[in-house]
């Protein structure tokens, strides 16, 4: 054991509290079992209701997913023992339920629904998430690559516009063709943008928050500080114009404005962002016919002429509405609805398909599960001690909530329908993989947030620095037997490129000066 335990008598060791030993993650295990039971139960019911037998590949799926869940659980126990216990089961539930739904649509003979492929992508995504958790030991490492990541994100956004590489499917140019697979680079760009914004804002938030004058109670930023927000606005407009993708452009811009607000706590930024969005959206509406069509079918979906329209008509949204209406309160039951009649019921419209089979009761449960994931992300953002981690976790959680709102709002006609995918539910490799990466990052940050720390934080107890003071060479050895407090101390004194800055920015709130 290391110096800490030698120096302190036994009584003091338990004075350090609050959690000396890594928690057992029992809650996660139990919830995982329930989640898998729900997924597999849905699958079995689909089979029995449609063909009176278990669906093909039922046992393969059970085996593969159980093994993967177990692996993920064990990886978390070893590499992120303090990470949040609700996130993994919640995501697993959504993913297995979507597998059941896509199997159901495939069995009903729907073109495009491919449960085998979905299972493959699910497995790959979980594996990638596990590897990420194993490799990435500290999320602060990502901060080193702030600007590299920005370039990569811009490249990803532009990729679909390159003639040979890009593919136009259903009017939107958001796919690229790599080795026979269609990928949506924007899904990955979303993560990279979150990393870039976090790194950028943590360094610049003071300028953005404090400079500028007050107008009507709003702290307005200086004109020259508007540069970055203008750039992001331009990029999202470019996505809107060049790729005809309303949803993604909304997502990028919303992510930036949301994170700007998180970083600066200035409502002025939100006001500016919203007005810029309104202006951009209005201009897009006047210029582009596809935007006009979206608004038209949003306002009058039941217009017979619009339903009949060959391209860009409201048939899809109307079928979804009928589906959800048929589902009613408690749903038709797995496999009993007519969800294969909803166009793209396996991807864009999967929420409507769930509404038909599980009813409002099921839909609300699904929404609550999403809400739980988002809440856990925001909780991790509150708990974590470095500004970069706070912004990254907050941004990732926010973008997931925003995406959920845009998709569900589009299907339920709160806002015009856009082409975004429901995270973890829609069939599509890029979306699945990207969102599992988001989950891995959130788990990593939440592990850092909940780990007992040697650094003092607001309202928590702290151990005083040991004699040597903060080490700068990082040569602290943590043996396998060292207590968690040792590990925490060693972690905290690990040199990281961002240490100086993060230390200065420990509380994300600006407390209005330090003098009492």
């Amino acid at each position: 054991m290391s110096m800490l335990s030698e120096k302190l008598p036994q009584g003091m060791q338990d004075a350090i509290q609050p959690e000396e030993n890594a928690p057992g993650r029992a809650a996660e295990a139990v919830l995982l079992v329930v989640a898998l039971a729900l997924g597999f139960g849905g699958l079995a019911m689909v089979g029995y209701s449609l063909e009176d037998r278990l669906p093909d590949g039922f046992w393969t799926e059970v085996l593969v997913l159980s093994a993967l869940s177990l692996t993920a659980h064990i990886v978390l126990r070893i590499r992120a023992p303090y990470a949040d216990q609700v996130i993994l089961p919640a995501v697993m539930l959504l993913n297995t339920m979507s597998l059941a739904m896509i199997t159901r649509l495939e069995m009903a003979g729907m073109r495009g629904a491919d449960a085998g492929r979905h299972l493959m992508w699910t497995s790959l995504s979980i594996a990638v998430a596990c590897v990420l958790l194993l490799v990435l030991r500290d999320h602060r490492v990502l901060r080193k690559y702030t600007y590299t990541v920005m370039v990569a994100a811009l490249v990803l956004v532009i990729l679909p516009l390159i003639p040979k590489l890009g593919q136009e499917i259903n009017g939107a140019k958001i796919w690229i063709n790599v080795a026979g697979f269609s990928l949506q680079p924007a899904e990955f760009a979303k993560i990279l943008f979150a990393v870039f914004f976090a790194g950028y804002l943590v360094a610049n938030r003071d300028t953005l928050a404090l400079a500028g004058k007050k107008v009507l109670g709003l702290q307005l930023p200086r004109l020259r500080d508007l540069g970055p927000i203008l750039v992001v606005w331009a990029v999202s407009l470019m996505v809107l114009v060049g790729q005809k993708d309303l949803g993604t452009s909304l997502l990028f811009f919303g992510l930036f404005v949301g994170m700007l607000y998180l970083a600066t706590e200035r409502g002025g930024w939100v006001a500016i962002g919203m007005s810029m969005f309104v202006v951009g959206a209005f201009v897009a509406w006047t210029i582009f016919s596809h935007v006009q069509a979206r608004v038209e079918i949003w306002l009058n979906p039941l217009d017979p002429e619009l339903i009949e329209r060959e391209f860009g008509g409201s048939y899809q949204i109307v079928q979804g509405m009928f589906g959800m209406a048929f589902g009613g309160m408690f749903g038709a039951g797995w496999g009993e609805g007519y969800s294969s009649r909803i166009p793209f019921a396996f991807s864009d419209m999967i929420y409507a398909a769930f509404g038909e089979e599980l009813g409002l009761t099921g839909l609300l449960a699904i929404l609550l599960v999403y809400l739980a994931i988002v809440q856990r992300g925001l909780r991790a953002a509150i708990g974590v001690r470095d500004g970069f981690g706070k912004l990254l976790a907050g941004g990732l959680a926010f973008v997931m909530a925003l995406q959920l709102f845009v998709v569900v709002g589009g299907i339920t006609r709160v806002i015009p329908l856009t082409g975004l995918t429901l995270p973890f539910m829609a069939q599509g490799g890029s979306s699945l993989l990207a969102n599992w990466i988001v989950i891995a990052l959130l788990l990593r940050i939440s592990d850092a947030a909940r780990r007992p720390s040697a650094l003092p934080t607001r309202g928590q107890l702290a151990t005083p620095p040991m004699n040597s003071g903060p080490s700068t060479d990082g040569a602290i050895e943590v043996g396998p037997g060292a207590s968690t407090a040792d590990r925490a101390a060693a972690r905290q004194s690990m040199p990281s490129p961002s240490d100086e800055v993060t230390q200065m920015h420990v509380p994300i709130r600006n407390d209005g000066g330090d003098q009492a």
Partner: protein, 169 residues
């Protein structure tokens, strides 16, 4: 499959779905309630604090000197006995403890009545001392505002903002 079984299964599925949601919410709630360890732990009858912790700005009320008796030897920890952080314990080392609102302090107080670097508690020889670092609202021991450096015997409450800390064996 008969109609009845299917209906039961269909509703049972929804029930199980909500069981999942509610148990997830239960886990979240446990987390929202915050760490309860500290509050449970620290309620042993303590002569020094038996008179009830002082509220708000009022200077430390208990007569502290008498509790120094039963504990022999050097103090081993600093305990917060009143204020929002009641129950927080910090093991003592040779390096001393800095108390205040600044994140760089050893004990960080979220308290408007405390200064960012409010006071320091450190050992010299066999004795512990408390030093007021020029705080705005002062540091009090035995109802008196301390000036400069003062010896701090174990069991004596020292008031910093809304919190009272003391050394214990």
């Amino acid at each position: 499959m008969s109609e009845l079984t299917f209906t039961l299964l269909r509703l049972g599925y929804l029930v199980l779905l909500w069981v999942f949601v509610l148990s997830a919410v239960a886990v979240l709630r446990r987390d929202l309630a915050g760490p309860r360890t500290a509050r449970k732990r620290r309620r042993r009858p303590e002569p020094a604090t038996a008179g009830g912790p002082p509220q708000g700005q009022a200077p430390a009320a208990p007569a502290p000197v008498m509790s120094a008796g039963p504990r022999s030897g050097a103090p081993t920890r600093l305990v917060v006995v009143a204020g929002p952080l009641t129950g927080t314990t910090i093991p003592l080392t040779q390096s001393g403890i800095l108390i205040g609102r600044a994140p760089s302090c050893t004990l960080v107080l979220d308290d408007d009545y405390s200064s960012s670097r409010h006071a320091r508690i450190y050992p010299q020889g066999n004795q512990w001392y408390v030093e007021d670092l020029g705080s705005t609202n002062g540091t009090y021991m035995n109802d008196q505002r301390i000036q400069g450096i003062v010896p701090m015997p174990p069991g004596v409450g020292v008031q910093i903002g809304q919190s009272v800390v003391e050394l214990q064996g």
